[in-house]
């Protein structure tokens, strides 16, 4: 058959449409994710130690095992571990299992300024160990509150005064708790949102506001305030007039605590973001995973509605 010019081009266009349709149809099926059949490294289970000590509580840590990424989720807690506690290198106690992988040292509380170590073994796991020094609390010297009356969001500026110990690295964890007004009584408590323009807590500008928002907590160190009597300013919010009380808690922590919670927080905030870089969570457990550290705390109460009955 002899084709003329236009017939040839009509034929080409028809063929292209047909091929395009076929291509798209095949891709639609092909783009469906497939189970990986290539080998994936099986991670051996590791001992996980979680112990965050503070002078107000008895020694307690939890012992569990990690779970390989391809293994079905299981009860990870270990009840038969041998956990030894040392203070300044000297044995203090063997912690006993209470429930769900928790190990407790009866009637023994950590002391601020002391260094503690643990050594744990369980079944076929190799021994793991870690060391932590409990920081001395940096006390909140003063708290000032100023309600921003012209702001419809019920903005309340809180100024927290404290003295940073000079000449050494200090790490802090600030918590802001809010208590509801429950019909004239102090009601439920929750961590509440605050924002700040304070340089020690500020971490970028949110939406051009020159502020950073924090969801109930923030970490900072003393790089900018070493040895200062510092007044930290945050803005809390009583959106509906339902907050009866704020509680400010200033935890004096360790670098390990700072790095652990910074990384765990970052991992969990960004884990679902396919564009974000993966975050490796810090650990100070030699031979295992988890965290062994401590803090001391200082707190202050701010009653927005004075005279309410405590729960």
């Amino acid at each position: 058959m002899k084709l003329n010019f236009s017939t040839t081009y009509k034929f080409i266009c028809s063929m292209l449409l047909l091929i395009h349709a076929g291509f798209l149809a095949s891709c639609a099926d092909y783009f469906e994710p497939r189970n990986v059949t290539v080998s994936f490294p099986e991670q051996d289970d590791m001992l996980v130690i979680n112990g965050i000590l503070n002078p107000d509580s008895v020694f307690q840590i939890s012992v569990s095992r990690s779970t390989g990424i391809l293994k079905k989720e299981q009860n990870p807690f270990i009840a038969n571990a041998q956990v030894e506690l040392f203070e300044s290198g000297q044995p203090v106690a063997v912690l006993t299992h209470t429930a769900n992988g928790r190990y407790r040292g009866a009637n023994i509380k950590p002391r601020a300024g002391q260094t503690y170590s643990i050594r744990a073994t369980a079944g076929d796991f190799g021994a793991v160990q870690a060391t932590a020094t409990i920081p001395v609390a940096v006390t909140i010297d003063s708290v000032k509150v100023e309600r921003k009356t012209n702001n419809f969001e019920g903005e309340i500026e809180i100024t927290i005064g404290f003295s940073d110990p000079a000449g050494k690295e200090n790490f802090y964890h600030l918590l802001l708790l809010a208590y509801e007004n429950n019909n004239g009584r102090i009601g439920g408590v929750f961590q509440t949102h605050f924002s700040t323009r304070d340089v020690v807590l500020k971490d970028g500008d949110d939406f051009g506001t020159e502020e950073t928002n924090h969801w109930g907590e923030g970490w900072f160190d003393d790089t900018l305030i070493d040895g200062d009597n510092y007044s930290l300013k945050i803005n809390a919010f009583d959106y509906m007039g339902e907050i009866a009380r704020f509680k400010v808690i200033l935890l004096s922590t360790t670098e390990a605590y700072f790095r652990y919670f910074s990384s765990i927080s970052s991992q969990q905030e960004t884990d679902e973001n396919p564009f974000a870089e993966p975050v490796q969570v810090f650990t100070n457990i030699q031979g295992g995973l988890g965290i062994f550290t401590g803090f001391s705390s200082s707190s202050a109460i701010i009653d927005l509605i004075p005279g309410l009955e405590n729960p």
Partner: protein, 774 residues
């Protein structure tokens, strides 16, 4: 510390200034089209001395002739040899016109002869791909792609499946200087990296340099890719049109004043959006296309002066629109480059040639989303726009000075001004509750000035030893910060029998950074200047190798090894991404170093009905950042232990060519969790009640994806008819439909079973295209 280098260079220049007897100079061009030929060999039979044409087809050969005549031979890939006897009593300026071999000749010489032979030149780690060979290589969906062909060379790795990104000797994609007619192209890909921005119809020459950098090159650490556009036929009007699965292309060229001035215009556009759009419902429309246009004009004022004006513009656009009775939503994702260059060739004398260039380059990425809603009796609208990009103005002058056949001196200077815009977000609305026009993130635009100077000499010391010695210096200023660098370059070649032993050392500095998310080759990658905090990237590369031609000169064989270190590399902090709009980019990055080393084998059969190459690379590439991977060294994502490419073209008959490429590469290194574990128990005083199980990443980039391999095939059928040639090309991409990994992800089903799943992009994909020349 660089004083010895300067002294050596001055000695070279002084030596070079001792001029020889007779100078033969001029230009080499295609007889049919007037197209100047790059890299043509010019050789004197009597003195056995020779040279090669530069980027503008210029050559100069100074000879002390022993007799009363000389015999000049000129040869070039795909052209018939030119030979002429000349009197040796005076300087001569020639315009040499080479006659193309017939397209349907039995074989096409792929690489030229003696002077360009692999053993003759000091250059190492250089590859030039003939455009005719490029056009025959199989390609994704039939779109001939320069960058994907370069990926088949040893030492060059592709990124992800289908990507045209290049990773040269362990470097990042930002470390490749991609020059289109001498102008940097900042984002050289369409469709999220699946196609490159270069339309093969308009390309004259492609050259890749991945090591042993001569002093004239600077500004990037890992490679220089020079793409030269055709000048345009100055003898007769010619045209070419092609229709393929993805895009249609055209090219039109011709004389404006025969033999004096010419133009070339070429364009390309995808058209799937046009085919599909009429089939979409009126209230929901979406589409994607890319298009590019290249245009070039040149005029010969005299035998000494010629002017070139060329421009490229390309765009990718994804758009959507939906509407109902109460609202209208629309959005667009646009990105693209514009480059323009004005070049002036001036032949000062038989042995001094200069080229002056003014250039402009811009890359811009923009995404916007808008909506209009009917609120009661009033319309409420908003418009959100994010944009980023880079813009450059530059001027440069380059000289070629050839005082004797023993020296080829190049020197020059360039000044460029860049404006970086790493991203800004703008909100416009008529809502009462918001500002009418708010810049949500401050525009972080930064301007930078860079001045570069260089001098190099390709110096033939004796019949055995030849060196290329040079210095490249760079001054960079951004804000109140200034950087000055002096980068020594040295390459040497020694002939031992039939073998050439080569070695090189090059220091490179890169004053710009590309901030890119791991594994995501998006146009959102940000170009950024070096700053006080993010210092310029630096590399030092040592390479050594041997080469020779074998099998009666039909096969080039080379083995090269290299060791490269890189400093001041940047990477996103853990958890950071380009989506974070509340931080200065400098607060989102970490600084570190990298190294790469390996061995490359390259066998290239140049002639015969079957020709092609085999490339194999054994390499290692890693990074070390104090704040990533707990400071431990980790594999680069594109650390590829083995990389093998086999490319061939076989002429089945006078009208049919079969070509193919088989690629094998070790899988990419990626970061995936290998376990999960429990966080500390909830405690109201430590804020732990919100944490879920922790993912344990044993090592950054610690997981190897499955190996990548693929076979592509292409069959080209062509016929010459009255008024032009016709080509039918049939192709198969991924002929045996290998399911290559694109990315992995985690999934947990309702019963708690956890799996890692793989997404693959391309099954076997057929391609067909029809091309006609007029």
């Amino acid at each position: 510390m660089y004083k010895p280098h300067f002294i050596l260079l001055i000695c070279c220049l002084l030596q070079a200034s001792i001029s020889a007897g007779q100078t033969i100079s001029g230009f080499v061009e295609d007889k049919n089209s007037g197209e100047r030929l790059i890299g043509a060999n010019v050789f004197d039979l009597h003195s056995q001395l020779g040279t090669a044409t530069n980027t503008f087809g210029f050559f100069s050969l100074s000879i002390k002739a022993p007799g009363d005549s000389i015999t000049v031979i000129v040869s070039y890939i795909g052209y018939e040899r030119w030979q002429q006897v000349l009197a040796s009593d005076a300087d001569v300026q020639l315009k040499i016109q080479l006659v193309p071999q017939a397209l349907l000749a039995d074989s096409v010489t792929i690489f030229a002869e003696k002077l360009e032979s692999i053993t003759e030149t000091t250059a190492m780690s250089v590859a030039r791909i003939p455009v005719k060979q490029l056009a025959k290589m199989p390609s994704l969906l039939g779109e001939v792609d320069v960058m994907k062909t370069l990926q088949l060379l040893p030492g060059v790795q592709s990124g992800n499946e289908g990507s045209s990104g290049m990773y040269v000797r362990g470097g990042g994609p930002d470390q490749n200087l991609i020059l289109l007619d001498g102008v940097p192209v900042y984002n050289a890909s369409h469709l999220f990296g699946f196609f490159s921005v270069f339309n093969s119809d308009a390309i004259k020459n492609i050259q890749l340099t991945k090591g042993g950098f001569p002093a004239r090159f600077g500004g990037r650490l890992s490679s220089v890719i020079e793409v030269n556009m055709k000048d345009g036929n100055n003898q007769e009007v010619a045209a070419k049109a092609s229709i393929g699965l993805v895009a249609s292309r055209f090219m039109l060229e011709g004389p404006i004043q025969k033999g004096k001035s010419s133009f070339i215009l070429s364009g390309r556009r995808t058209y799937l959006d046009l085919l599909v759009r009429p089939l979409m419902p009126d209230d929901e429309k979406a589409g994607y296309y890319f298009a590019d246009v290249t245009a070039k004009f040149n005029h010969i004022f005299s035998a000494r002066h010629r002017l070139y004006l060329s421009t490229y513009t390309g765009i990718d656009r994804f758009s959507f629109e939906s509407k109902d009775d109460y609202s209208t939503n629309n959005g667009e994702l646009d990105w693209g480059n514009i480059t323009s260059t004005l070049r002036w060739n001036w032949l000062h004398s038989g042995n001094l040639f200069s080229n002056t260039t003014l250039m402009y380059s811009r890359y811009r990425f923009e995404v916007f989303s808008g909506a209009e809603e009917l609120q009661g009796n009033e319309d409420e609208s908003y418009f959100l726009r994010h944009y980023s990009g880079i813009e450059e103005f530059a001027a440069r002058i380059d000289y070629d000075y050839i005082p004797s056949p023993l020296h080829y001196v190049k020197f020059g200077i360039n000044v460029n001004s860049r404006s970086f815009n790493p991203g800004a977000i703008q909100l416009k609305t008529n809502s009462d509750n918001f500002n009418k026009d708010l810049l949500l993130t401050p525009n972080q635009q930064q301007n930078a000035l860079e001045i570069n100077g260089y001098a190099e000499d390709d110096w033939k010391l004796n019949s055995i030893l030849k060196i290329n010695l040079g210095i490249h210096s760079s001054f960079f200023r951004v804000g109140g910060t200034q950087y000055l660098s002096v980068q020594p370059r040295l390459a040497a070649r020694a002939l031992i029998g039939d073998w050439a032993i080569k070695a090189s050392y090059a220091e490179m500095r890169q004053n710009i950074h590309l901030l890119t998310n791991v594994g995501v080759g998006l146009p959102t990658d940000l170009w950024l200047p070096a700053t006080e905090k993010a210092r310029p990237q630096m590399s030092r590369q040592v390479a050594a190798g041997i080469s020779r031609t074998v099998l009666d000169g039909t096969v080039d064989l080379s083995i090269e090894s290299y060791y490269k270190t890189m400093d001041n590399l940047i990477a996103y902090k853990e958890g950071a991404s380009f989506l974070g709009i509340n931080e200065d980019w400098q607060d989102k990055i970490e600084f570190g170093e990298g190294r790469s080393y390996g061995v490359e084998l390259f066998m290239h059969k140049k002639t015969g009905r079957t020709n092609g190459w085999l490339g194999y690379t054994l390499s290692w590439s890693d990074r070390q950042f104090d704040e990533l991977n707990f400071g431990r060294r980790f594999s680069y994502r594109y650390d590829r232990r083995h990389d093998l490419s086999l490319a061939f073209t076989h002429q089945l008959s006078r009208n049919i060519d079969l070509s193919g490429a088989w690629i094998y590469g070790t899988g990419n290194s990626i970061t995936l969790p290998t376990a999960t574990y429990k966080p500390p128990e909830a405690n109201g005083r430590t804020g732990l009640e919100y944490y879920e199980d922790i993912f344990y990443y044993a090592q950054r980039n610690g997981i190897r994806m499955g190996a990548y391999h693929r076979l592509d095939l292409s069959l080209q059928y062509y016929r010459r008819r009255t008024g032009g040639e016709r080509f039918w090309t049939f192709g198969l991409f991924n002929a045996y439909s290998r399911r290559n990994p694109f990315f992995y992800f985690r999934e947990t089903d309702y019963e708690g079973n956890r799996t890692i799943k793989q997404v693959s992009l391309f099954p076997v994909i057929p391609a067909i295209s029809y091309t006609r020349t007029f």
